[in-house]
Symmetry: C2
Subunit: 260 residues, 2 copies
């Protein structure tokens, strides 16, 4: 019988891949996983043989199709909603406004949790409802942290207008996404309905990827935006920590600048 | 140093989860992975501690958020296109018509490969193009093999019409999806443009999940549909085998019937 460290070493190889490192050489894997080259070679061989890793023409390793297949079975609602609910309730208690949790599914956000506030905002969101990414606060928070290829594909689409204020110019959308990355928060003003504003922040999973977004929707006009920003960020960070995320720099949850 | 079998045992635990078994008890994991209960318990503990598995309130294990995060880095294009290209070329040689490979991204298909045929079908598809699932052959082939929750969510959406022949009635769409599962092939007649018909079949990954679809688009009307069906199915099965899929029953690649 082998010790538990064998499992940990294999998982360390998988953990070497993240948003900023989607393709790695064997040497990079061994360094990032803290393994000898011999051990890394053996484990990468086992993972590649199974289909968890794939090697491209340049020799670099990528996460493989078989791992994607198995991982597609993950019920993102499950652990996420369990972890998020106390923080969503706290955010509701602090604001008494509509509070949402949403994940990305292709070019849309899907609302997975929703706590209704007192105010009669024109926006009525139900669990399971879908909305295009560019109009909503949660959608902007999710899209802003996607890889450039996903952002490029989205910005190349026709951007539907829902009000006169919806951003439909891809160049403006790109600037908005850069601003969301810089500030760590997304504000959507009157983009869904004329009478509502939403403030959203990204939720990170244990590996640091943005897996969901949390938001508050309030009636527009409002003087409360500056007060809502820290509350929403705090809730998003709380959920991220409950999911196992650990900030690399405790003063910020923003991403490093991306090349345009 | 531990032998390679430690890695294989850990991967066997992950492989215990599939489309038909998204939630498993520890006993079921040990049986499906061919491991003793003691070994399964230790490995499940390591995977759960890392976040690759999650336990729900009933005690059943599911694939976890952290594995989903890592797997989301998989470039589905890479291994898939490499494996598919020879079969797509053969399908083109056999038919001399437009040949496509597509994957699902939320409520849309994304075309990842496209070989242009001689016939002047009104449909012009480019790599990276997107189209709603219900109108296209590839989209129907992909949606038909999704879990019921995904099908239900899609059928509850407004279904856009592109021609007078596009299916926009959710009840008709559901019957169409059942027919696709039964026959293993999807035929879209004049649903995208009035002058085209597509025949599509699902491509399965190593774990048996439908990961892509392959199709041929021909001018409508055509008398060739009966001849195209086996060619498209053969290409789809060839790509599936190249990806590592092994049919459980060599006479069929259809799914077991689903509860409505």
């Amino acid at each position: 019988m082998t010790g538990p460290s064998a499992a940990d070493r294999l998982l360390a190889v998988l953990a070497a891949f993240d948003h900023d490192h989607p393709a790695l050489s064997l040497t990079e894997i061994s360094r990032r996983a803290g393994l000898s080259l011999t051990t890394a070679h053996r484990l990468v061989g086992a993972l590649a043989g199974w289909g968890a890793l794939e090697r491209d023409a340049s020799g670099a390793y990528h996460v493989g199709l078989r791992l994607w297949e198995v991982a597609a079975l993950a019920p993102r609602g499950l652990g996420l909603r369990q972890a998020a609910l106390p923080y969503l309730e706290d955010l509701y208690e602090a604001t008494h406004e509509n509070v949402q949790l949403a994940v990305r599914d292709g070019p849309e956000v899907v609302y997975t949790e929703w706590i209704s506030g007192r105010s009669a905002v024109g926006v009525r969101i139900q669990v399971g409802a879908r909305w295009p990414l560019h109009a909503t606060g949660v959608g902007l928070a999710l899209l802003a942290h996607e890889v450039p290829a996903v952002q490029d594909a989205y910005c190349a689409r026709p951007l539907a207008a829902f009000t006169a204020h919806t951003v439909t110019d891809p160049a403006v959308l790109r600037r908005t996404l850069a601003e969301v990355r810089r500030t760590g928060v997304a504000v959507s003003r009157r983009q869904v309905t004329d009478d509502a504003l939403s403030v959203a922040a990204p939720v990170r999973g244990p590996a640091g990827a943005v897996v969901a977004a949390v938001s508050v929707v309030v009636p527009y006009p409002t003087a409360r935006t500056p007060a809502l920003v820290p509350a929403v960020r705090l809730a998003a960070r709380g959920i991220s920590r409950a999911l196992g995320w650990q900030p690399r720099d405790p003063d910020t949850d923003t991403d490093p600048p991306q090349e345009p």
